[in-house]
């Protein structure tokens, strides 16, 4: 055994007699999943401590036998090692792969164990699937179908427990549905660092609750809803709104901060119902903030600019862009592709200066960083800016006052929030691209509505210089063109032989050849987990991010701050 370990550090484990190579110590639930099979489980979660309490993952475990007296390996008649199986089943979630280990996941005993656990879990369960939000993505339903008996032998009164308990502003609990797996408790304690949940009473009367005087109100509370394997914890926002099997899931990236949390956007017929985290072990594991989950509401924001609210057109903009003194203000929430085209527009016209507006916030050291712009590094990478942005555009203000600017282009930023006064705006011709109306759009000569992150494709570069893509979840607002479409057309106005750059694919064809950082990348080939870029050329910059889940600020940055 030690010999084959030398080669690649891997060992052999036998799953139902099939050899599987893995790292020593691999969790057996994960190991079996890695070969496309399943060990049903409730309490085990790859990102939480092992509690081993649901007993759904029981398997038969065997090790090569050794003679008690001599210590010699015991052999079968054919010379193969004799495997001694333990008389009692073992929990896969609490067992780590060891050399020569054998496990049975399909034996009669394992089957009986699963049937038994399923029966026990269901006897006191209210069986209210028809009115339960979890129906369709419920492990109790799935495992009953796959491993249950299919009928009930229970004729006693069920245990009655509290229904509709408000655990916090966003989470509702139905104790009768709870299978007491303790995932939510472990999450609160271990990940959210907010130890507010616990069980009271004992035996079958055990009840999940918040400690007296406490609420489940931290900004990660909705993760408990995600990991609750049943319908005990539900989101008060999503509750009773939509059956999950009607939902279309689109991979996306959260725009809350430069962490770039991977998400799934669930929609039906052009309407978004919820956002949930998408696992990425390099970025957000399986978690996301509560605040990031409501960002979809911006799609229907009351200040949303629609096609009715546009004024002017591209030809008009073209005229303004013939000016000698143009300033461009971009946004760190625009995609790499958009910023690339925006920058290109600035380079093909006479830009006196390009800006980005910094949006900083106090991060939470978990999944919200200090940089509220999801794509500051994208703006740097495409060359729109060379140094880190500031939140006040005082330089732009002085330029306006000095008469150095007469056309001011703003993209998704309200310049008045960045220190430009109404008087200053009145001195220049403002062109505004953006999703929402604000003081800047009010003052603009031309207003072109744009799309939200949910209505288009694109990429962001997060704080780790990880390039990550988001896909269009819902159709754009009727009559509003995709941002890339707008800029592509505008570029062709300014420079008629630019070609069609209205799709991310077309932009990436240029990006990968024009910018060395992006060499070899393409939108289509970019994996859902994203790819780490080499951001070392920017490492001298004093980025504002501190430590978050999978991110440590570079030593240089820390020094620069100090």
């Amino acid at each position: 055994m030690s010999e084959d370990q030398k080669d690649d550090g891997l060992i052999s484990v036998f799953v139902d007699d099939k050899e599987v190579r893995c790292k020593p110590g691999t969790n057996l639930v994960d190991l079996v999943a890695s070969v496309g099979e399943e060990i049903p489980h409730y309490c085990y979660h790859p990102k939480l401590s092992v509690s081993g309490n649901c007993r759904m993952c029981l398997i038969e475990l065997g090790m090569p036998g050794r003679d008690r007296n001599t210590g010699e390996p015991m052999l079968n008649e054919d010379g193969t090692p004799k495997i001694m199986f333990f008389p009692n089943p073992a929990i896969a979630c609490g067992t780590k792969a060891g050399p020569g280990m054998h496990i049975r996941t399909k034996s009669e005993m394992v089957k009986r164990c699963r049937e038994g656990v399923m029966e026990f879990l269901l006897i006191n369960h209210p069986l209210d699937c028809p009115i339960c939000d979890q129906a369709g993505e419920c492990k109790l339903q799935e495992f009953s179908t796959d491993y249950g008996k299919g009928y009930s032998r229970f004729v006693e009164q069920k245990v009655v427990k509290p229904k509709r308990t408000v655990l916090g502003p966003r989470v509702m609990l139905d104790d009768e549905r709870c299978v007491l797996c303790s995932r939510c408790i472990r999450f609160s304690k271990e990940v959210a660092n907010d130890d507010v949940l616990g069980f009271v009473d004992r035996g079958s009367y055990s009840t999940l609750t918040c400690y007296p005087g406490k609420q489940l109100e931290n900004n990660y509370s909705l993760n408990t809803v995600d990991i609750c394997p049943v319908g005990a914890l539900t989101s008060r926002d999503f509750r009773f709104k939509m059956r999950v099997w009607f939902l279309k899931e689109t991979p996306s990236i959260c725009t809350e901060s430069s962490v770039g949390v991977n998400t799934l956007v669930s929609s039906r017929e052009g309407k978004i119902y919820r956002i949930t985290p998408r696992r990425n072990d390099e970025v957000n594991d399986t978690w996301m903030s509560d605040s990031g989950r409501v960002i979809y509401k911006e799609v229907e924001d009351e200040n949303r600019l629609s096609s009715d609210s546009s004024s002017g057109d591209l030809a008009q903009i073209h005229k303004y862009l013939e000016s000698e003194k143009i300033a461009y203000v971009g946004s760190g929430s625009s995609s790499v592709e958009e910023l690339y085209l925006y920058n290109r527009l600035s380079r093909t016209t006479r830009s006196v200066a390009n800006y980005l507006v910094a949006h900083t916030q106090e991060g939470d050291e978990l999944l919200i960083s200090n940089d509220a712009n999801p794509n500051t590094r994208g703006a740097l990478s495409v060359g729109l800016i060379e140094s880190l942005p500031e939140d006040q555009l005082s330089d732009l203000g002085s330029k306006i006052d000095a008469g150095d600017v007469d056309t001011l282009v703003a993209y998704n930023e309200d310049l008045t929030a960045a220190g430009i006064t109404a008087e200053q705006l009145a001195k220049v011709d403002v062109i505004y691209f953006g999703t929402n109306s604000n003081a800047t759009s009010e003052a603009a000569a031309v207003v072109i509505p744009t799309l939200t992150v949910f209505e288009k494709d694109g990429t962001f570069i997060n704080q780790q210089f990880r390039l990550q893509k988001f896909l269009q979840a819902i159709p754009g607002l009727s009559g509003v063109a995709d941002d890339l479409e707008t800029f592509s057309q505008l570029l062709n106005h300014v420079e008629p032989d630019t070609g069609d750059l209205s799709s991310v694919q077309a932009v990436w064809a240029e990006l990968s050849s024009e910018i060395s950082l992006f060499e070899g990348q393409s939108f289509a080939a970019l994996s859902p987990e994203g790819v780490a870029l080499d951001g070392s050329t920017f490492k001298h910059l004093p980025f504002c991010e501190g430590k978050t889940l999978h991110y440590e600020p570079a030593a240089e940055t820390v020094e620069a701050e100090a």
């Binding site: 081993g52 609490g94 004729v155 004992r202």
Partner: protein
């Protein structure tokens, strides 16, 4: 010659001349064992305890010496010793005698065991329902400390160790050693999963920890005082020393008796006075409520195929194991022909349903379900299929749970049904109110 008790641990406890005070204990030669031990090397003491054959008196009967040898001594972390005085197994009341009547014997046993295992801090985890015991222990520890038998530089040996009395918060599961440790850490007493949390490696505060029963630790005093050779002459091979049996139920003289191994007949008749007038023994639950019942009319077969009767069962670890049950916590409950076996089961399962910690699915749900079925069977609602249902369902609990308590439902249910099936069946047949299952009612409609 009639079989009699052999009092070693309880030698003085109930005598008129004796009190729980340190003076009483010293008068009887108390703490000589500790003095003797302090002059020895800890590893030699550990070896002696291993050679004495002393087995744990708390339930599983694991070798005390081997348990000590498994302690992780390389971790560099402190090693803790915990005396398990949570005694709450139904039918068990021996530790209570030792604590109430002879606390210094326990303290001496703990100090020797602590010294043998390089322990600097030892605990007594005493169940909440023994407030008097806790007071007595506190006082005794004070007395011992005043005489430099506990605390700093004990008797000038350079060895220091203190004992802390920790009161439980009232739950049977606090007796399970890892549940106990969780409770001591101030948490719910949810037993821990093993692996990885073997107390010998990751016990109290994630440090190596020894958990021993009160009676086990008291025996250590006598192993040291007598020496291995003399000690192993008591009892029989593999079952050395005496055991204190707690006898309750349908027997003339219930009580606690310290004996060497003897036959069931000798024990029940000579020591406990036989059945109540006009009654016949039906069987006994030998080691606390969770153990399998032994029927009085049954014929038993040991591993070698030799058959023997109930009367011939030897009352010790191996003798009761040979009859297919376990000596457990040595709480022996006697049932006679006046006992309704289904009611007995309903009573037992009600306890385990109440005491299941609720952590793991099979024990949590299975114990309450069992309670509900047996309670219904006893109140005129039995159905013919209940017996098989009980038997089959109980088989889905034991051995599949976090801690051994799952067996506390499985073993009683299965053994009572196996041995007294006809009583269960007649209960089901006599069902008058005709309770029907939901499915059956549906079909009728």
């Amino acid at each position: 010659m009639a079989a009699v008790e052999r009092k070693i641990l309880l030698k003085h406890a109930d005598e008129d001349y004796y009190s729980p005070s340190i003076d009483s204990y010293l008068e009887q030669g108390g703490y000589e064992g500790l003095k003797k031990a302090l002059a020895e090397k800890p590893e030699d003491l550990r070896e002696a305890v291993k050679d004495s054959g002393l087995r744990g008196r708390g339930g599983a009967g694991f070798s005390c010496g081997i348990k000590w040898s498994l302690v992780d001594r390389k971790s560099g972390k402190p090693i803790y010793l915990i005396c398990n005085c949570d005694e709450s197994e139904p039918g068990t009341f021996k530790d209570r005698q030792l604590v109430h009547k002879d606390p210094h014997q326990l303290i001496e046993g703990m100090m020797i065991s602590a010294f043998a295992n390089d322990v600097a801090l030892a605990f007594i985890y005493i169940r909440e329902e023994m407030p008097l015991g806790a007071k007595i222990l506190e006082k005794a520890i004070e007395e011992a400390r005043a005489k430099n038998l506990v605390g700093e530089n004990i008797l000038g040996s350079g060895y220091s160790c203190d004992i802390v009395v920790h009161r439980g918060a009232g739950a049977y599961i606090c007796g399970e050693e890892t549940g106990l440790i969780e409770s001591m850490e101030g948490k719910r007493p949810y037993p821990r999963i093993k692996p990885p949390f073997f107390p010998a490696v990751l016990g109290l505060y994630q440090c190596p920890t020894i958990v021993n029963n009160v009676e086990t630790l008291c025996n250590v005093v006598h192993v040291v005082n007598m020496g291995v050779e003399e000690y192993t002459k008591i009892g029989r091979h593999g079952n050395t020393g005496t055991r204190i049996w707690c006898v309750s139920g349908m027997v003339k003289n219930p009580g606690y008796y310290e004996i060497e191994p003897m036959t069931m007949k000798e024990f029940l008749y000579d020591v406990c006075g036989g059945p109540l007038p006009g009654r016949k023994f039906k069987g006994c639950i030998p080691g606390g409520g969770s153990m399998k019942i032994l029927g009085a009319e049954e014929t038993y077969t040991d591993r070698e195929g030799k058959s023997f009767s109930f009367d011939e069962i030897i009352v010790d670890y191996d003798g009761i194991a040979a009859a297919g049950s376990m000596s457990g916590s040595s709480g022996m409950m006697i049932l006679d022909d006046s006992t309704d076996i289904v009611e007995a089961l309903a009573n037992i399962t009600a306890f385990y349903a109440h005491e299941s910690c609720g952590q793991c699915t099979p024990c949590r749900e299975g114990s309450l379900w069992t309670k509900k079925i047996t309670a219904r069977m006893c109140t005129g609602g039995a159905r013919p299929q209940d017996v098989d249902l009980l038997y089959d369902m109980a088989g889905n609990i034991g051995g599949r749970t976090v801690c051994p308590m799952g067996y506390s439902t499985t073993w009683p249910v299965q053994s009572y049904i196996e041995k007294f099936r006809d009583e269960f069946d007649s209960k089901a047949q006599a069902n008058e109110c005709g309770m029907k299952s939901f499915d059956e009612r549906l079909i009728e409609k």
